[in-house]
């Protein structure tokens, strides 16, 4: 129930921040309406980095504690991270077309870094798909997630060196993103969108984590041959519900031990 409240709050917050970003804030003097893309774009990019940080930390957690709940956090965070990375690239391209005149700007280190980020974590998810054994999959994923996280700063700085003519990140130089006469609404719109997106991220993470636990339990149950037996003897199955569905699918796995 708590998760559901969080979910509803997150959706409302995203809607409110979107409406404010579209209609509440004046358009940028130089970039016009295109600048409004920055609110979800910056928020998505922040969540992409947050996600992959969480994935790496959860991987370390698994390697040390050998608890599959860490791996469930890792996969949940990585999947949501891929989603927000794709959103960040999409937003960046949509913004780049009217402002820079091209979808893809090789001079921009962040766009290039983010594209590699997407490739790294799509690879991470594909690798997970190919491993059947839960412990093996968790170990492989953990080390790959860790090395990928180590690589990200190197990628970022190398691309900055590579294209030394880059413009500094807009987020840290307010004069570039903010309306000179009305900075407060711009800051408000950006911070509001960041908060709303982060709420939505938290909700997605919890839900995907629950799903990952359920998937694990199902895998275990299949290995124990319990699913087949359960199917031949029809029983009422709980549908939906907050923590209920997870508890339901966890039960056969525990019986198998």
């Amino acid at each position: 129930m708590k998760t559901r409240i969080l979910g509803i709050t997150a959706v409302l917050a995203v809607v409110a921040a979107t409406l404010y970003g579209l209609f509440g804030v004046p358009a940028d003097l130089n970039q016009g309406d295109a600048q409004r893309i920055m609110y979800p774009h910056v928020s998505s990019a922040w969540l992409a980095y947050l996600s992959f940080g969480v994935t790496a930390l959860a991987g370390i957690g698994w390697l040390i504690r050998r608890d599959l709940r860490f791996d469930a956090v890792a996969v949940a965070s990585a999947e949501i991270g891929v989603l927000f990375t794709a959103l960040a690239i999409w937003g960046g391209m949509m913004w780049g077309r009217p402002v820079w005149g091209v979808f893809w700007q090789w001079d921009d280190p962040r766009l290039t870094t983010t594209a590699l980020l997407l490739a790294l974590y799509v690879g991470y998810l594909l690798l997970r798909r190919l491993s059947d054994d839960p412990a093996r999959r968790a170990t492989r994923a953990a080390v790959v997630g860790l090395v990928a996280a180590i690589d990200i700063p190197i990628v970022h700085f190398s691309v900055i060196w590579w294209r030394s003519l880059h413009q500094p990140p807009t987020f840290l130089s307010p004069d570039k993103i903010l309306h000179p006469s009305a900075p407060l609404p711009f800051v408000l719109a950006l911070v509001g969108m960041l908060a709303a997106f982060t709420l939505a991220w938290t909700w997605l993470l919890i839900r995907r984590y629950q799903l990952a636990r359920a998937e694990l339990a199902r895998e275990e149950a299949i290995r124990g041959g319990l699913v087949r037996r359960a199917r031949s003897a029809p029983r009422p199955v709980a549908v939906g519900g907050d923590e209920g569905s997870v508890a339901q699918s966890k039960a056969p796995a525990e019986a198998a031990r």
Binding site: L63, L116, A119, L120, G123, L126, L127, L130, S131, A135, R136, T139, R140, A142, V143, V144, L146, V147, A148, I150, D151, I154, V155, F157, S158, V159, W161, W162
Partner: protein, 229 residues
């Protein structure tokens, strides 16, 4: 100190074993080198006959050739171990797991250097680039690039060795990771060939060396977990 020496001894033994197996079989080594040469030839077709354009693109093409052929090489040294339960035997050795990683990375570096020895003259001939003047710096760049690539490639070969789809997964995982290496190596090679007019060469070599150190430490630290499976 003794443990470091022991690590080196074990690593050398593993690298030597793989080198002997490869030299006796020959097919894999020859086919990898041939593949690299064909890739360089095809780059020439792809970019057309304009000698200026080919010479300008030469550093990038050299490193793409090295990376593509290097992927085959590092994958190969782990594939060797999949037959007859050799991988399980390897993990049963009472040695530090890091020395197994070091051995596999060492043979990877040797393979990359062999590729470099073939590809650098080939680039000079096919794309009409004067490499002789820049040879010492070029050699240093190839050595640093080879170490970094072998460090990453060996780690991911360990990740994918037991997968059914390892032929696809190894490049898919390695290529985005080595992007900074490719970038720095190409920049260093370009600077070296041009006589370093902008004095940027030391910075790129530093980046390469830094990448090597970080990836060797990361690989050595995590490779052991993969063998425990």
């Amino acid at each position: 100190m003794t443990s470091l020496r022991r690590t080196a001894t074990v690593a050398w033994a593993i690298a030597r074993k793989d080198a002997i197996a490869e030299l006796r079989g020959k097919q894999a080594a020859v086919s990898t080198l041939t593949f690299a040469a064909v890739v360089l030839l095809l780059f020439g077709f792809a970019l057309g006959p304009d000698p200026r354009r080919l010479a300008d693109a030469a550093p990038g093409l050299l490193w793409l050739g090295l990376v593509f052929a290097g992927l085959l090489a590092v994958g190969r040294f782990h594939e060797l171990e999949t037959e007859d339960g050799a991988l399980e035997q390897l993990t049963l050795y009472p040695v530090d797991r890091r020395s197994i990683y070091a051995g596999k990375a060492a043979i990877g570096v040797i393979a990359m250097l062999a590729l470099g020895v073939l590809l650098v003259p080939l680039v000079a001939i096919l794309y009409a680039v004067d490499v002789v003047r820049a040879l010492p710096v070029l050699a240093l760049t190839v050595v640093l690039g080879s170490i970094g690539f072998a460090a990453v490639g060996t780690f991911y070969a360990g990740v994918t060795v037991r997968l059914r789809a390892r032929e696809v997964m190894l490049p898919l995982l390695v290529l985005p990771i080595v992007a900074p290496l490719l970038l720095a190596a190409v920049k260093a090679t370009t600077a070296a060939l041009a006589g370093d007019p902008l004095r940027e060469l030391p910075a790129w070599l530093e980046l390469l060396a830094g990448f090597d150190v970080v990836m060797l430490v990361a690989g050595a630290g995590t490779y052991g977990f993969l063998l425990e499976e």
